[in-house]
Subunit: 394 residues, 2 copies
């Protein structure tokens, strides 16, 4: 496999974007990545779009070829990749393979989702379409419901407390305040969420023990990366950030079929594959973007990915190790919690944040001297996970 380099990145602020269609958002992010790569009029060989549910959210399919037309990139190949909330990571992986194989030299990968086009609980129902149709969905299971049960088990097994969960939310919303692309720009405090007389109003129960501030918001947004060879990136005079490792793994569709439902096997295996391919170890990672769709997931993933042993993630968090300036900053972008989680965009947005961090372009949320980055995109409830290890050459 020939090395694959990220020569350009782009993103639009995640928020409620009523004025923009899905393809508008994909086009804006894609143009930014092409501009960032100094691409000029070089032809793009292929466009990959990561998107979970344009059919259900927007009554539109085949958005990859629609994007190629909008960006006037014909006759570039176009593929839409869907893997639930891991659609973005999947799209980056397939773009990576297109360049690594030698079949393509320049590939644009864009992830995006327009979720706010549907009203109220409809979005939760659409997201729940990834659950098992006969074993989960028909019983009314939603993602917050699964996360609630998972959180309860994890708290009991590993001594994670509601304070720990709230620390994730407080940290990530604090980081989000430093990220102009983040949907939620609001400082919250431990006291306001936990002990204030109005705490039950500020952060009401969603699916016990999960409260409102344990959940990511429902957002619109898009993010993009331009992948190419090292030679072309050098010709474009762009800093070299290499995709050093790619790992993907699946697990059972339902949590109930896992011998230990707190054991996120696909997270462990995907991470190990990415680390093994890269030759980089968890201790060498300077910054990580994890998939905190629910606060417990940041803690659980930080353990399963190999950064902390089981049961130690919450302690590292409480000790400040995962803050910007700590030993391993996790989600300096604000994560899904603050940046938002337009599902198909997330896996790409994580990679965009890492590239900014590894290039030293992350502004107020910069992790100093970051060279190696790690991202983890979590699909289903851990049944399809994609991990990347990125390395800066500069």
């Amino acid at each position: 496999m020939r090395p694959v380099v990220i020569a350009g990145v782009g993103m639009i602020p995640f928020e409620r974007r009523d004025e923009d269609s899905l393809v508008d958002m994909l086009a804006m992010a894609g143009l930014k990545a092409m501009d960032d790569a100094n691409l000029g009029d070089r032809p793009v060989d292929a466009v990959y779009v990561g998107n979970m549910a344009s059919g259900l959210f927007n009554h539109q399919v085949s958005v990859a070829s629609a994007l190629v037309d909008r960006l006037n990139l014909m006759p570039a190949a176009a593929d839409r990749i869907e893997n639930g909330p891991a659609s973005g990571g999947s799209a980056v992986k397939n773009g990576f393979l297109a360049v690594a194989s030698g079949y393509c030299d320049i590939v644009l990968v864009v992830g995006g989702e327009k979720m706010r086009e549907v009203i109220g609980p409809k979005a939760t129902d659409i997201v729940a379409c990834m659950t098992h149709p006969n074993a989960e969905y028909i019983y009314g299971v939603t993602l917050p419901a699964l996360a609630g049960m998972f959180t309860r088990l994890y708290m009991e097994k590993y001594g994670v407390t509601r304070e720990h969960l709230t620390m994730v939310a407080v940290k990530n919303q604090e980081n989000g305040l430093l990220n102009p692309y983040a949907h939620i720009q609001m400082k919250i405090t431990m006291e306001g969420v936990l002990t204030h007389p109005q705490a039950h109003v500020n952060s009401p129960v969603v699916a016990d023990p999960i409260h409102l501030y344990d959940c990511c918001p429902v957002s619109d947004g898009a993010a993009a990366v331009l992948l190419t060879t090292e030679d072309i990136a050098n010709e474009l005079k762009r800093p070299i950030v290499t995709i050093a490792g790619v790992g993907q793994a699946t697990d059972t569709h339902t949590l109930q079929e896992r011998s230990d439902p707190t054991d996120l096997k696909a997270v462990t295996i995907a991470s190990q594959k990415a680390f093994s391919m890269s030759g980089i170890k968890p201790k060498d990672i300077d910054v990580a973007e994890l998939h905190d769709a629910f606060t417990i997931l940041e803690i659980a993933e930080s353990e399963h990915a190999g950064f902390f042993s089981k049961g130690q993630g919450a302690k590292a968090l409480a000790a400040g190790e995962t803050q910007i300036g700590g030993k391993l900053p996790i989600n300096p972008s604000g994560g899904l919690k603050a940046r938002g989680h337009p599902v198909g965009a997330t896996g790409v947005a994580q990679v965009v944040e890492l590239v900014w961090q590894l290039r030293g372009e992350a502004g107020k949320r910069q992790v100093k001297g970051a060279v190696n980055g790690f991202s983890l995109n979590f699909g289903g409830f851990g049944n399809n996970v994609i991990a990347f290890v990125l390395r800066s050459k500069s």
Copy 2:
């Protein structure tokens, strides 16, 4: 790129399959391909699913990881690929890249669609979600409507007649009678469609000049291929059919923006790319599977792919050159017209038919001595096209 071999193929009969869910169908086809490859207990590295609209047809997403679970292939990577009616071809292409790159050794690609879960005109609406939302869909454009306008233009420009269109239908339904996997098992005649007093009842107008028998049926079904390296295929003691060429190209989203709407540029470019990569020329092809969702498309694609010059496709058809036993048999399987068109399955089913033909396993519809095969999967209305050249080594 290392060579990629199809070591196993599988398919379930296309028909109305009320008893089977989408994932049931994908699993049945996938198991057949793994069995056909003599795979035994070798691990599958990745599973690609080609599917257009499981969200809209079946209220389910993330079917690739669901399939991995159903087949007990964890922790294999899983990706669903969506490209409208070219989803199957797109999935084969991405599976090809996974093996060609060296990232995976064994990849299962399954295409499938369960369209009959929705009632009546709803299926036509869902398929129309691939049209341009502002320039086509809101005006009530459907795929038969686009095909009707395209057919009229093509007839006027190239002297194609209603008799020619009917010849495609008669030939392909004749071929379908030789294919146990075909949805439509019914002989039709030129007289019954064109001149019989009940012709207007037998094949009523759908979108003038298109009649009922110019359209493919709405079907449920799935097809699968197992991709691997030549070394592994030899270890598995399977005949070697190589993916010698892969081409993909896009065109404008709307027909109205094309300087000549009868010019299917993406078909021409995708075919040229596949031929160029393979070193095989159109004249060397022994059997072709083209995307005859509407009868005009078989004629137009046979010209744009390079088998006949413009305006000569209908004449070759009338001269019997494209029948089994003719100079270039087209759609010996019965094509989309008779085999059916469960959208996500089609691009994979075309490749399955070619493999059967190149191995000499196509039974009564066998094209004698076939060595080189060509398939063309046509997405949108020609805005995303994927072509393959296959070569038998045996």
